[in-house]
């Protein structure tokens, strides 16, 4: 049996105003409009969302786990990017 497969879409849901969209999973749909409807039917039955993004999985560009070391390791020793690195006396407010 050969038939046209519906492409895979990744689904991102914003659960509440003020929060970012979060990846919740994937689904198959024939077109973008259907993908939004499927996402609504599968991922928002319990009022889990106010906004849906669907993206064709083929359009997602991901970093290569094999390059994790060169992409992410150098940030590890740059602790001065984190606020806790700096010692500020307690009496100073608003810092």
């Amino acid at each position: 049996m050969s038939e046209t497969d519906w492409p895979l879409f990744e689904v991102f849901i914003r659960s509440r105003s003020g929060l970012e969209h979060k990846h919740v999973g994937s689904l198959h749909a024939a077109d973008a409009r259907m993908a939004v409807e499927h996402a609504r039917d599968v991922y928002t039955r319990r009022q889990e969302g106010v906004s849906i993004w669907v993206v064709r999985s083929a359009d997602i560009i991901a970093s290569d786990p094999a390059e994790a070391d060169s992409l992410f390791e150098p940030a590890r020793d740059k602790v001065y990017r984190h606020p806790t690195f700096y010692a500020i006396p307690d009496e100073v407010k608003n810092l």
């Binding site: 519906w6 689904l27 198959h28 749909a29 024939a30 077109d31 409009r33 259907m34 409807e37 499927h38 609504r40 039917d41 599968v42 039955r45």
Partner: protein
């Protein structure tokens, strides 16, 4: 929540009889259509459509429950939503004949759904301004659901009409089969006329005109031909149904009828 009205406004028995029948028409249409969609679960063309059709069924059963609850109060005989759903016989059901037509194939289901969704858009939309506050509230809630249902059904109408040769042929055939039941949708009878005269329900002829335009536009987008209209013999709104309803009710009502008086 009951519709608050001056005592005098509710003391016209013929108006109240018409109101009850009107509410039952809406309730039974949602109930019967919801029951039909429930038959699809586990058998849809794709898993995603199983979920979609189930959502529609849930919305429609929900509408039926609200409307039947109101009807039971109007009737004032101590019945509830289940007594009305499970213990009335076919001649007492007032659903549109279109709603009881069998699921057939996916094209039949989509066409049936789309025709009724477009009808509900007019009816619930018109009821939003009803002088009957209870109906207005139910309609406002239901309209949001219907807007989604219409998006779903009209979207599929387009995909099937403008898809493959096979899907086009099947959908055209579904239209030919189901079109004859549409005459009943906007032909007003004495109940409809009393309801619109009392400011309770939208006037059918105008609503019918808008429905016709929407249907025509959807058919054009789907590259489908509108079938010829015929005078309609169907009177589901008056309790005169096709043979299908009897079987649907026998299945739906079986347990309550077999174990009378039991709580479920």
């Amino acid at each position: 929540m009951s519709a608050v009205a001056e005592p005098g406004a509710r003391s016209d028995p013929t108006l109240e009889t018409a109101r009850l029948r009107y509410v039952l028409r809406l309730a039974d249409t949602s109930l019967v259509l919801g029951q039909r969609l429930g038959e699809w679960v586990g058998h849809a063309p794709a898993l995603e459509e199983d979920l979609g059709l189930a959502n529609l069924a849930l919305d429609l059963i929900g509408q039926a429950r609200l409307l039947l609850g109101y009807a039971a109060e109007l009737e004032g005989r101590g019945r509830d939503e289940d007594a009305l759903a499970y213990l009335r016989d076919a001649p007492e059901f007032l659903n549109l004949t279109l709603a009881e037509q069998p699921n057939g194939d996916f094209a039949d289901t989509v066409v049936r759904q789309w025709l009724i969704d477009a009808w509900q858009l007019e009816i619930y939309g018109g009821l939003a301004g009803s002088s009957d506050e209870r109906l207005a509230a139910i309609a406002a809630k239901s309209l949001k659901e219907t807007s989604y249902h219409y998006r779903f059904s009209s979207g599929w109408l387009t995909r099937l009409g403008d898809g493959t040769e096979e899907s086009h042929a099947r959908t055209q055939r579904s239209l030919a089969t189901l079109w004859r039941f549409t005459g009943e949708l906007f032909a007003p009878d004495e109940v409809d006329e009393r309801m619109s005269a009392a400011g309770i329900a939208p006037a059918l002829p105008e609503a019918g005109g808008r429905w016709q335009e929407r249907i025509a536009a959807d058919l054009r987008r789907a590259t489908l031909q509108c079938p010829a209209s015929h005078p309609y013999p169907w009177h589901g709104k008056r309790g005169v149904h096709t043979e299908h309803l009897g079987h649907l009710l026998a299945e739906m009502q079986h347990l309550q009828r077999t174990y009378p008086g039991a709580r479920w």
